[in-house]
Symmetry: C2
């Protein structure tokens, strides 16, 4: 079993971002800046936000944190987002999900200026990269692509894993991971299967896939019930808190007996996600300031 190490790549990319920001700050006298928005006091969300802020500071991105109370109304959140949209010192806006009131999620995300949408969750962001013809077009466009899917693409590239013409099985159809990674894989000429909780006969599909990306949030779901193709590459995006600690959607004890390459939990894609947030914030800064700057 080969391990795809997200930490190593994340470290390399952070180094590059740090250097680019140094040059930018020197030449423009400005800093890329990210606004983080947290509604309520969910402890897990607080931890996530803290690591994002810490990562910003590591690479030289300024951060501004906004915390509204759990009972903030839709109007309160939208007013804050509009203020941040109009604030030219802010390049990226990150609204930490889940919101205490789930039903407000779409309206709040849709309020974020798509050019500051560093999480890539606005429908316009999704439409923009999904309708481009190729992965090269997506890279050239400097568009904001959701962080986890972007991290997966970079991880595969780093390990020279061919996507072109491969059969990719995506299990899970969330707006955060499943739907966008399917479109990115398609842009890179993969044949893509979108599977989910309503899929019948998943066993038939795992057996023929060259690459499996799983993001469903069920500990050890991909177990010996499912046969795997020899040499399959598995990207585990699940982050599940169990009494034995954090684990992914893949039963490592099972897959380690197979000839597979795997991005494990922890240490795989998760570490890439925050790094892609930094990259998106830098991208947003470059786009907003119309800087000519080498592709990220």
């Amino acid at each position: 079993m080969e391990m795809l190490n997200g930490r190593e790549l994340a470290k390399n990319i952070k180094k590059t971002i740090t250097e680019k920001i140094k040059i930018i700050t020197k030449t423009t006298n400005q800093n890329p800046a990210l606004a983080t928005v947290l509604i309520g006091e969910n402890p897990a969300s607080q931890i996530y936000i803290q690591s994002k802020i810490k990562a910003c500071h590591e690479v030289g991105i300024k951060s501004y944190h906004y915390n509204l109370s759990t009972n903030a109304t839709e109007r309160d959140i939208i007013n804050l987002i509009n203020d941040l949209n109009n604030n030219s010192n802010i390049n990226g806006i990150l609204l930490q999900l889940p919101l205490p009131q789930h039903s407000l999620t779409n309206n709040c995300i849709n309020t974020i200026n798509p050019n500051k949408d560093v999480d890539g969750l606005h429908p316009l962001s999704y439409g923009r990269f999904s309708l481009l013809k190729s992965w090269e077009d997506i890279l050239k466009s400097n568009l904001l692509v959701p962080c986890t899917p972007l991290g997966i693409m970079k991880l595969l590239q780093y390990y020279n894993i061919e996507v072109n013409k491969k059969l990719v099985l995506v299990i899970g159809r969330s707006n955060l991971v499943g739907k966008p990674i399917a479109m990115l894989m398609l842009a890179k000429n993969a044949t893509v299967i979108m599977a989910h909780s309503k899929t019948v006969n998943l066993k038939q599909l795992t057996a023929i896939a060259d690459i499996i990306i799983i993001a469903i949030g069920i500990p050890n779901f991909l177990s010996n019930k499912y046969s795997l193709k020899k040499g399959v590459v598995i990207i585990d995006v699940g982050i599940n808190r169990t009494q034995h600690g954090i684990c992914g959607d893949v039963d490592l004890d099972y897959v380690k007996t197979k000839n597979v390459a795997i991005s494990p939990v922890p240490g795989g894609v998760g570490t890439m996600t925050i790094t892609m947030l930094l990259e998106n914030t830098l991208k947003a800064f470059i786009n907003q300031n119309k800087l000519k700057f080498p592709q990220l």
Copy 2:
């Protein structure tokens, strides 16, 4: 072999649209209106535009036609679209594709106000319906969905063909058909395979699919080289002009020997496409005037 007759359904829907527009005109003293924009003099495009204008008049939609010359610049086209965006008498804008200069397509489409994007080709339109959780949410939202994919969904519904939990193979990944129909099928709980010209081993996939939607523009592509599951439903979206007349992407002589249901060319989905354009124009009118009106 069962035939899925698009003409019959299109006729029924047109009747409903006509009645709704009659009521609307009576109560609001206004007419839904569509602007058709043609660049250049491509004869096939002229014929398409003519049938769209004719269909508008049949159901009571006003139409305004704009024809710019082949050598119109990007600025010329964008200025025209902006005028139509700002014209409150126009509810829908249809830019006939292909443009004489292909490279202008994205910028021109992106200029159309998404609320008037009756072809559903704007990235925001694509993102909006793709990120909703279910087909019911899409219907309730009154969003503008691309006409051919919407027509396919209605045709399947009309013939009571179950999509939920089925394995759907989409062959072709165009922005017009392949990508949007994949997202609509996913919203209706299908497991979706997105295949295309770079797909290896398509034979393996045709053999397991419950529903095949093909839109690649190669006459008689789906032939006896490909095995089919018993009872498969095939939606042929190809419109190919050959020396023997118009034909689809499916070899009818082959599939008619199988136990399949097929939407043929001509007479299948094609007739639904224009009808969905009428429905979208009515939807755009209703949305723009904030009318409360029964779901279409």
